[in-house]
């Protein structure tokens, strides 16, 4: 540890592991530490089941829940978009070969007290229970417009200027009503709130295309989920980092970032200092350099049945758009099961999450809990969200933001790519990895 490093990375959450991998691949000498004796930090999957019960001080896990080792419970639920940025990162870095994925079986949206399948292609739009007959036809036209739309080909624009026309104007152009806008904006374009409606529609169209494109890849839904839980993802990137020379140290006593005045010296743990030129970490390792931006509530629910009205899906996602329940933030439900090696035979894990808006967050998500049917056990966490107070350029401490309530990894990847770009002054060069692999 007494050596000198280009970078010390603190915390083995997904963001830190991706960054550690990128730094190692780009030739930097990396030391990666974690205060826990397992990989993944907040993005670990807890196993065996008793560890989850211990974490929440819930006593002994019941015998009826089968073998403890069969459980791998995510603390932060998310899915991967099949055509999304994390899949890009996995493929470009070769980390895909360490993991196995399954397609999520169904994507649903809440409307008028019931859940409906999210229609994402023209055929589904016509058979959807979400809209009336005429609205269906209008929505179908809108989807076809988005799929055809290309910035390079003015013939596909139909009078829409991606940089000028707002998303609301686009809805108006196709005469789509508020209900349709609700599920399109939140369950297809996956916006967190309604601000996008007043923004130029270019990004909105791209998001609709990402959803449709992801859906077209595997059919049932646009989402993927790794066998054995999301905790496999940080481990995959940690392995990448190690293979490119990164050194790993877990179970380190409270690593502390040390400065000489304003200048970064290194990281101290157990009385030793690892000197380094930069530190990359999650907010918990540099609390004085972060500010609180809100709270997320996550409720892990153990079920012994699929979520009702999801066609007995072994995995599914339900989005409850803010407007449907008079909120400012959507509520997400992600469900996975024994089919993904995260629960004992015949058990399901449903995780409800949202951004907290009141001082009774559990009541806020009651509408989502009511959709799940009988619940065997609930585990409730309310966690603070932190953001770095600056971009780290000044003192060479680059801090990631807490994992938000969104149900997928798009914002996670944006944060990672942004931090890498600040460190390097240019976007990450994926071609570097390919070259080294050929050398091997």
């Amino acid at each position: 540890m007494d050596e000198e490093y280009d970078a010390v990375v603190l915390g083995t959450g997904l963001k830190e592991c991706i960054l550690s991998g990128m730094l190692s691949v780009s030739g930097r000498k990396v030391l990666h530490m974690d205060r826990n004796n397992y990989y993944g930090g907040e993005s670990a999957s807890i196993t065996p089941l008793q560890d989850l019960y211990d974490k929440f001080k819930m006593g002994k896990a019941p015998e009826s829940m089968g073998r403890g080792r069969d459980w791998n419970v995510d603390l932060i639920p998310k899915f991967l978009m099949a055509n999304g940025k994390l899949v890009d990162l996995l493929i470009h870095t070769g980390v895909t070969k360490y993991l196995e994925f399954k397609s999520v079986e169904g994507s649903y949206v809440y409307k008028g007290g019931k859940i409906h399948k999210v229609p994402a292609d023209e055929k589904e739009a016509l058979s959807s229970s979400l809209m009336g007959l005429f609205e269906k036809r209008r929505f179908r036209k809108f989807l076809m417009f988005c799929q055809e739309f290309s910035l390079d080909d003015p013939k596909t624009w139909e009078g829409v200027d991606a940089k000028m026309t707002t998303a609301q104007e686009l809805y108006d152009k196709f005469s789509l009503d508020q209900n349709t806008a609700d599920f399109t904006g939140h369950a297809i374009a996956l916006y967190l709130n309604d601000e996008y409606k007043n923004q130029p529609c270019g990004e909105f169209i791209e998001r609709v295309k990402l959803y449709s494109g992801s859906l077209a890849r595997y059919g049932k839904s646009p989402y993927l989920y790794p066998l054995y839980g999301l905790g496999e993802l940080p481990q995959g990137f940690a392995r990448l980092s190690a293979i490119y020379g990164g050194t790993y140290m877990l179970d380190k006593k409270e690593p502390k970032i040390v400065f000489d005045g304003d200048k970064l010296l290194g990281v101290e743990s157990d009385g030793e200092v690892a000197k380094c030129k930069m530190v990359v970490c999650d907010p918990s390792y540099a609390p004085d350099k972060c500010k609180k931006t809100g709270q997320v509530i996550r409720i892990i629910c153990i079920l012994n049945h699929p979520i009702p009205h999801t066609n007995d899906s072994l995995s599914s996602q339900i989005i409850i758009p803010q407007n449907q329940v008079n909120r400012k933030h959507d509520i997400y439900v992600g469900c996975v099961s024994y089919a993904h090696n995260v629960a004992a035979k015949n058990f399901f894990l449903a995780i409800v999450s949202t951004h907290v808006e009141t001082d009774n967050p559990e009541r806020e998500v009651q509408v989502a809990l009511d959709l799940l049917g009988p619940i065997e056990q609930k585990f409730v966490t309310v966690s603070d969200l932190y953001q770095p107070i600056d971009n780290g350029k000044q003192n060479k401490v680059y801090i990631s933001s807490s994992y938000d309530a969104t149900s997928h990894f798009e914002t996670t990847c944006l944060d990672v790519l942004k931090i890498y770009e600040i460190i390097d002054g240019k976007p990450f060069d994926f071609s570097k990895i390919k070259k080294t692999e050929d050398d091997m």
């Binding site: 397992y38 066998l227 481990q235 995959g236 020379g245 050194t247 140290m249």
Partner: protein, 207 residues
């Protein structure tokens, strides 16, 4: 599995410095690095080779640890889906041998159903502190049927490696074939005895 040769994942396990990466290099491209610096594994990930087992071409994919065990633990994901673990020790370092039971525990917990093969590297070692034949025999007795094979090799002289991997390929493939037939027998439908089922099926088809 329906297309191509069957593929078996083998993970390397054992203490830092027993020569896991040397085994990996011999496996990958039959090379050997003489200098034994403190530099641990860099750039070694996984490699695949074809072997013949019981008249079938089978693929063995060998995974290296990435050097993660040097100062830390290897994450659980390394073990996922492994068909076999090559449990390595150095014949000239008794400590790397006596700690093996700890590794067996890790393998059994994280890689369910993986066969475990014992592999002593530095078989060219002569001297006082070497692991002896008696040590190995008593360890094998303790382990009972946990071990599926026991080899002594030398990466330096390139002895025993090819025989070891060919043998592992045979054992793994035989096991897979056995399991397949076993599973066929085990599937029973409640209320229908195994003999009655084909008859029932025939009746269906002829209707």
């Amino acid at each position: 599995m329906a297309t191509g040769s069957p593929n078996y994942k083998i993970i390397l396990c054992g203490e830092y410095g027993v020569g896991k990466s040397s085994i990996f290099r011999r496996f990958m491209n039959n090379s050997f690095l003489e200098e034994t610096g403190k530099k641990s594994t860099i750039g070694l990930d996984q490699a695949t080779q074809m072997f013949r087992a019981h008249g079938t071409e089978v693929k063995l994919t060998l995974w290296d640890t990435g050097g993660m065990e040097r100062m830390s633990f290897i994450g659980s994901s390394y073990y996922r889906g492994a068909n076999a673990a090559l449990l390595c020790y150095s014949m000239r370092n008794k400590d790397s041998f006596t700690i093996l039971s700890q590794y067996i525990l890790d393998i059994v917990m994280n890689a369910e159903g993986a066969k475990i093969f014992l592999c002593g590297n530095f078989a060219d070692c002569t001297g006082e502190n070497c692991v002896t034949k008696a040590n190995i025999e008593s360890f094998e007795r303790e382990c009972g049927d946990v071990l599926s094979g026991n080899y002594q090799i030398s990466c330096k002289d390139n002895t025993g490696l090819n025989d070891m991997f060919s043998d592992i390929a045979r054992v793994l493939h035989q096991d897979a074939v056995n399991k397949m037939t076993l599973r066929k027998d085990m599937i029973v439908r409640p209320g229908i005895s195994p003999e009655a089922e084909p008859a029932h099926k025939r009746k269906c088809c002829s209707e």
